[in-house]
Point group: none
Chain length 200, copies 4
DNA sequence: AATGAATGAGTTTTCATTCAT
DNA sequence: GATGAATGAAAACTCATTCAT
């Protein structure tokens, strides 16, 4: 298992990186925050970049893992979509710092950014699979491009969470906020905004 | 009208900031790219921050303006939504560099970032109005929170555009790509993913 | 012509590098010594390495140049050899700091060291030419390898100078010391150590 | 006898120090190269400096020893000179790494460097003795300064060896190379470059 | 208006050395 | 005897900003 110190550094690094973004973040701060000497960080990580990438990798892994766990083996596509939605929103809301980094540090040509986008693609594919499964099964409308739709849904989810996290005027407990966001997204994704004549 | 030199600097700054992000971007690079001396930039702008903010303000302004122009006075909510969608996607796709900055430089507590989020909120409100109007008029389903739904839609739009712009394997002309994205988003927003018995 | 500041930095850099060797030398010291800010050095030179290489290049150039000048157009090989000897010893003695760097920083596989060796080869070739010329003309004994002999002579010259410079107990004016070294080297190179029967 | 581990460290240290020079060499590299932990080196040696000095002392000792052995008790000055030459070239060529360190780490005011110069002086004195003996015996020309001549010869020897070792284009077996260098140096030292009428 | 040399505070990174196990 | 994680002082290097011309 990963050592105590590394865990410590990791934890502090998330805080600091999220608070300041990759460039603004100072290794000095990570060290101070973690209660270790600066050299210790360089003993465990090659440099700022490596630490950050390790961090994000870890975050994405945990996220994917938790989502998988929460979705379980639900066979019904609609319920599966709901579970996925709930899981993603919950995770991102819980790890707002990570969510912020994901959305702000993924667009560019630096190698690390390409890796992040690849990770995002994994998340998108999770959604995509649910969409495809639903379409095959007949309960979901076949999409022009399941992938593009999945991307749009991921965008909706992540930006919703971030916007909410950065809204100073938001009220209610975290659970309530999450529930609200999930319900809203579900409504949008499932039924769209237009009143369908066939439904009440 | 703004002088030749300032225009030059502005133009180069967009390029450089978009390529590297605010922190990574170097004034030196902007100067070289613009073909002026570094001092010249400081003669016209107070500093890096001011240059960047001026830039973003300009971009947001043009965006809002163009969107307003494109939407015209279309009274039908559904058509109005379509027009809005088309306009936003088109603008962001066209100004990918700006889209990238918008999504990556808006999350944080630095003052400038709060200003960017405020601008995003303006865009979101544009969507919100359409939703509200549609709901009042009866063609749109009343949302739990029109604002949250609008945010979600904005997220879907912007992330879709960015993901597409950074996809190396994308094919087709820009017009085709934009049309595809718009069609897909429209489908999702209007009808959702679930097959409704009442519709064909 | 090269700017005042650069000249200043150059001058200080020779001092500092020679005193401490490449690795031990601190850019901070060069800056302080030159009376400029650290940043100024980095404004003019890419880094420590570039400064050092520029320095050595400059030193070698001046050395070659001065030697050429001093040797003039003397056609007689023996006199030419003497002139060369005198010029090399004089220059190295005068620029002991440079001599030290040349001998201590030229052996290794770092690129810069290869360049230094190439420069040394130029000096060696100067000697070689004299030897070949003398051999063709008949006054010098044909050597097994003029190049190897030239290398040996260069080694003798440079180490003699360094050893003398670092001898705490040396006496006499610089001119006397140089004259002594030159005379001694000349004796060795010209006649060898063995008593030849054909000479008194 | 010295323990296995110490021997290992010693051996690796020679490699690493020779490859990078004293300053550039990292204890980490020595440890990795030796297959021991960094702490182990500090268990056996007080520090980097001590390790290096111990190393050089060892090298110088072995060198002096081997040279003495090879020279034997040859009474004839000329043959004695030849033997000395052969022994020095051979040792330095064989221990090129050591030769490099000797020439590059001996010029400076750090204590260790003074010690190295003292050791060099020992080598020089070996040569000096031969010269003096030859002069007293009558077969060598009396020198202005036997010491200076000896220094020059040492310089010629060591630089010749180094230049050869670092020549990428050198050909032939090591024995051949050594033999060539020795022959050439002998020719130079014994007869000089000038054709003397009294010899064939 | 424009320039570009100079600055120095701020960061990242390195590495010999220590020490608890 | 041996280990290797942890340290922190010491350097190298960056870059937004200033200012004399």
């Amino acid at each position: 298992m990963r050592g105590e110190t590394i865990e410590q550094i990791f934890h502090s690094a998330v805080e600091v990186f999220a608070h300041s973004g990759f460039e603004r973040a100072k290794i000095d701060d990570v060290a101070r925050h973690a209660g270790v000497a600066k050299g210790t960080i360089y003993y465990h990580f090659k440099g700022k970049e490596e630490l950050f990438v390790a961090l994000m990798r870890d975050g994405m892994e945990k996220m994917t893992e938790q989502i998988h766990r929460q979705m379980g083996r639900e066979p019904d596509p609609l319920r599966r979509l709901r579970a996925l939605l709930q899981a993603q929103v919950e995770y991102l809301y819980e790890h707002g710092t990570f969510a912020k980094l994901l959305l702000s540090e993924s667009w560019g040509s630096v190698e690390r950014q390409q890796e992040f986008r690849a990770k995002i693609r994994e998340l998108v594919e999770l959604i995509e699979e649910v969409l495809i499964q639903g379409a095959e099964e007949g309960s979901f409308r076949p999409q022009m491009s399941h992938h593009d739709t999945a991307v749009a849904m991921f965008g909706a989810i992540s930006v919703s969470v971030l916007q909410d996290l950065f809204s100073p005027e938001r009220t209610g407990t975290r659970e309530e906020r999450v529930a609200g966001l999930v319900a809203n997204l579900e409504k949008l994704f499932v039924d769209g905004v237009v009143v369908s004549k066939g439904k009440t």
